[in-house]
């Protein structure tokens, strides 16, 4: 008997409609560790320092990971600039009216060059060129406008 030309149900469908299909997020195993993400409390900021000592000292905590542990870019295609953790700047906010970065005119002059200084990353972001209000759905340094 052939399935060709017949209407067949998908083989994994029963588990999916019952809610018993196991996806990555549903997988558990003994001794599994759990991760929790600490998010910035402000929409845009420069990260000067991340103090993890208190978190690391909490009972049961095995590890605290920061941007230093995940160098490089995690994204691809339209988000190829994306890092795993906020690195350098907090700029991962999506809001209806994104906080506008300074325009060219009001942008502060660079301070006298000193080693280690760089523009905040939204100034380097190739997608941030326009000065007018971005169209809905546009990728901006502060997220996607709605």
């Amino acid at each position: 008997m052939s399935a060709i030309g017949r209407r067949v149900r998908r083989s994994d469908g029963d588990a999916k409609v019952r809610g018993t299909a196991v996806y990555g997020m549903d997988h558990t195993e003994p001794g599994m560790l759990h991760a929790a993400v600490r998010r910035a409390e402000v929409p845009a900021a420069r990260i000067v320092r991340v103090d993890t000592t208190e978190a690391a000292a909490m009972p049961g905590v095995r590890a605290v990971a920061t941007a230093a542990d995940a160098p490089g870019r995690s994204g691809m295609l339209v988000v190829k600039d994306q890092t795993v953790f906020a690195a350098g700047d907090v700029r991962y906010v999506a809001s209806r009216s994104p906080p506008s970065p300074p325009t060219r005119r009001s942008r502060p002059r660079p301070p006298p060059p000193r080693s280690g200084w760089s523009w905040p990353s939204w100034n380097r972001c190739s997608t941030w060129r326009r000065r007018s209000t971005p169209a809905p759905g546009t990728c901006t340094p502060t997220g996607r406008t709605t």
């Binding site: 409609v17 809610g19 018993t20």
Partner: protein, 136 residues
């Protein structure tokens, strides 16, 4: 405040409801509370004062599928399936309050459930079929 979804998934091991977004946008975490549906990712557990039904409670584990589940499979309304637990709960709840819905009612009833795979049409067809309104 622990959301109901965390209690269901992490404490009770009921992982049918999914944490799709965790902020009330996707409906993958939809469960029934009393006779209405709620986004369990947003509902503080202390406010779950009525009986909760998850997708696991729609059909007996070893028994036959609920007509809504059956129709979803028959009409090809399931792809990745991430939205399906929420869809099943929403459709069942909708059909209980309105056993004879038209297409617009079904679509309105599913506005809280996002599906990134199917384009909704087959899910809507399945819901109508489960209500006994099979279209040619």
């Amino acid at each position: 405040m622990t959301p109901l979804l965390d209690v269901l998934r992490d404490r009770l091991g009921l992982r049918g409801a999914k944490a799709g977004c965790g902020e009330g946008r996707c409906g993958a975490c939809t469960v029934r509370l009393g006779d209405r549906t709620v986004a369990s990712c947003l509902l503080p557990t202390v406010l779950a004062t009525e009986p909760v039904t998850t997708v696991e409670g729609i059909a007996p584990p070893d028994g036959p599928l609920h007509p809504v589940q059956d129709a979803l499979l028959e009409h090809g309304g399931v792809q990745c399936g991430a939205c399906i637990p929420g869809m099943v709960v929403s459709i069942c709840t909708l059909l209980e309050s309105d056993p004879d819905p038209d297409e617009a009612t079904v679509r309105a009833g599913l506005t809280g459930n996002i599906c990134r795979c199917t384009g909704y049409q087959k899910i809507v067809e399945a819901a109508l079929a489960a209500a006994g309104k099979d279209q040619p």
